[in-house]
Amino acid sequence: MAKSVEQLAGELADREGIRELPLKYCDCVWRNDLTGIVDLFASDGEFITKGFKREHRASGREGLLKLYGGLTQGELSPRPYIHNHVIDLAGVGRASGRCYVELRNFKKNMEWVGSGYYEDEYVKVGDDWKFKSRTFRTAYMSVNPG
């Protein structure tokens, strides 16, 4: 059965709200707005990094603030560009998606340092979409992000 105009509009608004999350995430990273980054997550949201050899997990507002507080302390000060965002609405305020990132390093004349992708889970909190979880998988990284 064809979707009604109300259903189409609701889904469009949901997709737009979700599409904005990784964009705002990158914008916050560029501006080193740590609180802004963490505000994009649900209160029990988590960020998981999966490298080739190790996995790191930060959960909840305090854990995320601590994690992102170290964002620029290593040899990498990341400047991300996001691409290829695909979204699957799962209903009842849930969705998942994947998007791909290239990173340049502000500390090294913006040299290209690597790429990877995020596997995201999204949740609607009130009227706002948030990250329930972000799992970053490295495809290639020339420097240790710390």
């Binding site: 997709r15 560009y81 691409h83």
Partner: protein
């Protein structure tokens, strides 16, 4: 005459679904999902790659399946899509253009090349599909250039 709210919402939904096609295409390429890639095309959909004075076209699911399987295995491309413009032409048809950068997963994601796609889209039931993709390469590193020559090459 101004469009009705219903017309506007339907056009927005069409644009959104079409916008997602090249994104899903890239996502499938990254993950090596050949079945997923081919499912983005109409049954008689076609993919053409143009570069180095060569033009190679593959049409229909069987040819696309074979071409993408071989291409993804030999080139290991990792694409990023940009600058997607869409023109709705009515009657379940649309066209568009988007620009791509390619990196090589087999070589520390080194640069493979760049170009753009001239796309034709068709609505099949409730789902938008590629009717055709014409990839015009603007710059290709040697590995990419070698990988674009195919058996159905035509000048």
């Amino acid at each position: 005459m101004a469009k009705t709210t219903e017309q506007i919402v339907i056009e927005l939904a069409d644009r959104d679904a079409i916008r997602e096609l090249p994104q899903r295409y890239c996502d499938c390429v990254w993950r090596g999902d050949v079945d997923g890639l081919v499912s983005l095309f109409a049954d008689d959909g076609a993919f053409t790659i143009i570069g180095n004075n060569r033009e190679t076209t593959n049409k229909g699911r069987a040819e696309l399946q074979k071409t993408y399987k071989a291409g993804l295995a030999s080139l290991t491309p990792r694409p990023y899509i940009h600058n997607h413009v869409i023109e709705l032409t009515g009657g379940g048809r649309a066209s568009g253009r988007c620009y791509v950068e390619l990196r090589d997963a087999s070589n520390n994601l080194s640069w493979l090349g760049t170009g753009f796609y001239n796309d034709e889209y068709v609505k099949v039931g409730d789902t938008w599909k590629f009717q055709s993709r014409r990839a015009q390469m603007v710059h290709m590193e040697p590995k990419m250039a070698a990988g674009t020559a195919g058996p159905q090459e035509k000048k």
